[in-house]
């Protein structure tokens, strides 16, 4: 039953989704959208499972003092801090005891982790964690500068949450993305080494296409290079891309069919 019920469910929903493509009627569309909503609902619950996994792995790293275990504290601290930021709203211009509150919550979590790791001093760490939580509760109850909200009419209103996202995460992402330029350069160097005839052809094609987009070379080389570059992009390149797309489309169809018919059960841990 453990294997048959998932296969039956996949078959039923797979066949429905296939036929839904050919049935534009509103009722069929409604069921399809209902199923898509379920993906979101399952995703939200699965996120909790994911966070628990991250928590476990990070604690394990700290426990075993693995290489780079200190970063796990940063990961867990950031995770807790961002959660707290997300559920709090500043009421005026002043921050009050807000950051002390966040620090107390983060510290409490660290102490609980320490209590789990160091069983000999578990009571001490658990007691300290309890003190931190008590301090956080007192601060939350007495400080009028901010308050805890699970939902506001205007949506997410946390200044700190947005600030961390806008001024920390986005610049870090931009930095990571900018590394791509250097990696492309090093990858291109490896790809364009003329080791054999095919690599030489690749190099020549690349030179033509690159010179087409070079603002200094284009006036010197004239229209002919631009036309050759366009031809390379629109004819051989496009033909190869379309061939791959066609193969991918058929591969997706065949795999989906195998999954729906229960032939392919790799996603259940059975090939």
């Amino acid at each position: 039953m453990k294997r048959q019920i998932p296969v039956l469910l996949v078959f039923a929903f797979g066949v429905f989704t296939l036929f839904q493509f050919f049935v534009p009627h509103e009722s069929s569309e409604w069921v399809y959208e209902f199923l898509l909503d379920w993906i979101l609902i399952i995703g939200v619950f699965a996120m909790a499972v994911g966070i628990w996994s991250l928590f476990r792995v990070s604690v394990e790293k700290i426990k075993t003092r693995k290489s780079g275990w200190g970063y796990s504290y940063i990961t867990l601290g950031s995770l807790i801090a961002m959660m707290v930021f997300g559920f709090t709203v500043r009421n005026g211009e002043a921050w009050g005891w807000f950051f002390a509150f966040v620090a107390a919550i983060v510290l409490a979590v660290f102490l609980v982790i320490q209590a789990v790791i160091d069983r000999g001093k578990a009571y001490l760490f658990a007691g300290l964690a309890g003190l931190c939580v008590a301090a956080a509760v007192v601060m939350a109850a007495l400080d009028p500068a901010w308050s805890i909200h699970f939902q506001t009419a205007e949506g997410l209103q946390s200044t700190m949450f947005r600030a961390v996202f806008d001024y920390t995460l986005i610049p870090i992402f931009a930095t990571m993305f900018s590394l791509l330029a250097f990696f492309i350069a090093s990858a291109a160097y490896r790809a364009f080494r003329a080791r054999n005839l095919m690599a030489t052809l690749l190099l020549l094609a690349a030179l033509i296409v690159m010179s087409r987009f070079n603002p200094f070379l284009q006036p010197i080389l004239g229209e002919y290079v631009a036309k050759t570059s366009n031809w390379l992009m629109n004819v051989p390149n496009m033909a190869a891309q379309r061939a791959i797309i066609m193969g991918v489309g058929l591969g997706i169809a065949a795999t989906a069919l195998k999954v729906v018919l229960g032939i392919e059960r790799g996603y259940m841990g059975k090939g």
Partner: protein, 411 residues
């Protein structure tokens, strides 16, 4: 003072009858009705206005066709657009529901299917339409009323018949070849270098005492590329369990993580080593693209895996991962169906599965006849597509449009 109520009543009656005598104004029409214009300046109306339910849709849509005004492209040539009006009564009032450009002879009036939206258009309700020819000067001449017409959804999209036929034929081919394979037919599948290298790579990792890093990509669990990757992960995990090598699977999505954990756990059980399975070897990292890259790159540089396997959906992070793996000195095997990322993997990895090879890999790894059967069906379908493309090329070259029209997919 005794006559005050009578006077008040007469005053109200006067106001009421005055209001009744007013012509209703249509604010959407543009120029006010009180403006007197020379009728010779008005454009000729559109003719032969027809309204019908839009075919092959979910309802809430009506298609209008007409013959253009004689002042559109000819005559005074001063028509620059057409306004579409709709009403629930032939007498009006008509509301403006869209515009069509000069020269247009068709307009699809699609409205919302959501009752809460202001432009909700219920099905199975009579509608009447007019089309107004609008001049550059803003003068409008409306056509005769067309209707009644009702919108409704269809139960089969006739425009997708070619796709339906292809799906049915393809399903039949897959079932036929799977059945043939089950009967013991010898099916040849060309070797995939990337997949053949998996065993060597796992052996290398065992010899070096280093782990194997398996990256499922940024796809969600419902994507077919991710599903194919799960199957390959199962095979790799089984081999890893047999060799007693360490496996690391950082996941981008929590549902993917849950499925991957189950896949790896089953693979260890199949290999006869269920106790060796470490639940923390498959873990969730983050659902942010570049944060995920940073985490996986960190793992590569700290753990120095002997082999990195990238299978699934990859986007801008593909080269960031593959180049870092290359710097770390790992053997790298990649497979993706994202065309834009394939060149990056080819350059930075030792072996790359291109496009559909990702889907073939699961069958190839297992060498199970029923999985190989579907590969044969794929090959035949590809041959059919090539033949149809060539036939279409010839038909179009010789001016036989019927062939292309027969295979045309509407929407």
């Amino acid at each position: 003072m005794r006559y005050r109520p009578i006077l008040l009543f007469l005053l109200i009656l006067l106001c009421f009858t005055t209001a009744l005598g007013q012509e209703p104004t249509d604010e959407t029409e543009g120029p006010p009705d009180t403006v007197v214009v020379d009728s010779s300046l008005l454009p000729a109306p559109v003719t032969n206005l027809q309204a019908r339910d839009t075919e092959d849709d979910n309802g809430h849509s009506v298609t209008l066709t007409w013959d253009v005004s004689t002042d559109d492209g000819s005559g005074r040539d001063d028509v620059y657009m057409y306004m579409i009006y709709r009403s629930m009564s032939p007498e009006g009032p008509f509301d403006s529901v869209g515009v069509a450009m000069k020269g247009a002879t068709e307009h699809v009036n699609s409205s919302s299917k959501d009752r809460a939206q202001p432009d909700f258009m219920p099905d199975h309700t009579d509608y009447y339409y007019q089309v107004g020819a609008v001049t550059v000067g803003g003068l409008i001449t409306r056509s005769d009323v067309a209707g009644p017409v009702q919108s409704y959804g269809q139960f089969f999209n006739m425009g997708r018949i070619p796709v339906f036929v292809f799906v049915v034929v393809f399903c039949a081919l897959v079932v036929f070849f799977v059945a043939s394979a089950r009967k013991g037919a010898d099916l040849y599948v060309r070797p995939l270098a990337g997949i053949e290298a998996v065993d060597d790579a796992i052996g290398r990792a065992t010899e070096m005492g280093r782990p194997i890093l398996y990256v499922l990509g940024l796809g969600t669990a419902e994507m077919v590329a991710t599903i194919a990757s799960f199957t390959i992960l199962g095979r790799v995990a089984k081999r890893v369990a047999e060799y007693q090598t360490k496996l690391i699977v950082p996941c981008y999505e929590s549902i993917v993580m849950a499925v991957a954990q189950e896949v790896v756990k089953s693979a260890y059980a199949d290999a006869g080593r269920p106790d060796d399975y470490d639940e923390d070897s498959v873990f969730f990292v983050t659902s942010l693209q570049f944060a995920y890259v940073a985490a996986v790159n960190g793992i590569m540089l700290r753990e120095l895996p002997a082999t990195n396997v990238y299978m699934g959906k990859f986007f801008a992070e593909s080269l960031l991962l593959a180049e870092t793996g290359s710097i770390a000195g790992s053997i790298q095997i990649a497979g993706t169906d994202e065309i834009a990322q394939i060149p990056f993997f080819i350059v930075a990895c030792d072996y790359t599965l291109i496009g559909e090879e990702l889907y073939a890999a699961s069958a190839y790894l297992g060498r199970e006849p029923i999985l190989l059967g579907s590969l044969k069906a794929q090959d035949l379908a590809k041959a059919a597509v090539v033949i149809i493309a060539l036939a279409g090329l010839i038909a179009t070259t010789f001016g036989w449009p019927g062939f292309a029209e027969a295979l045309h997919v509407e929407n």
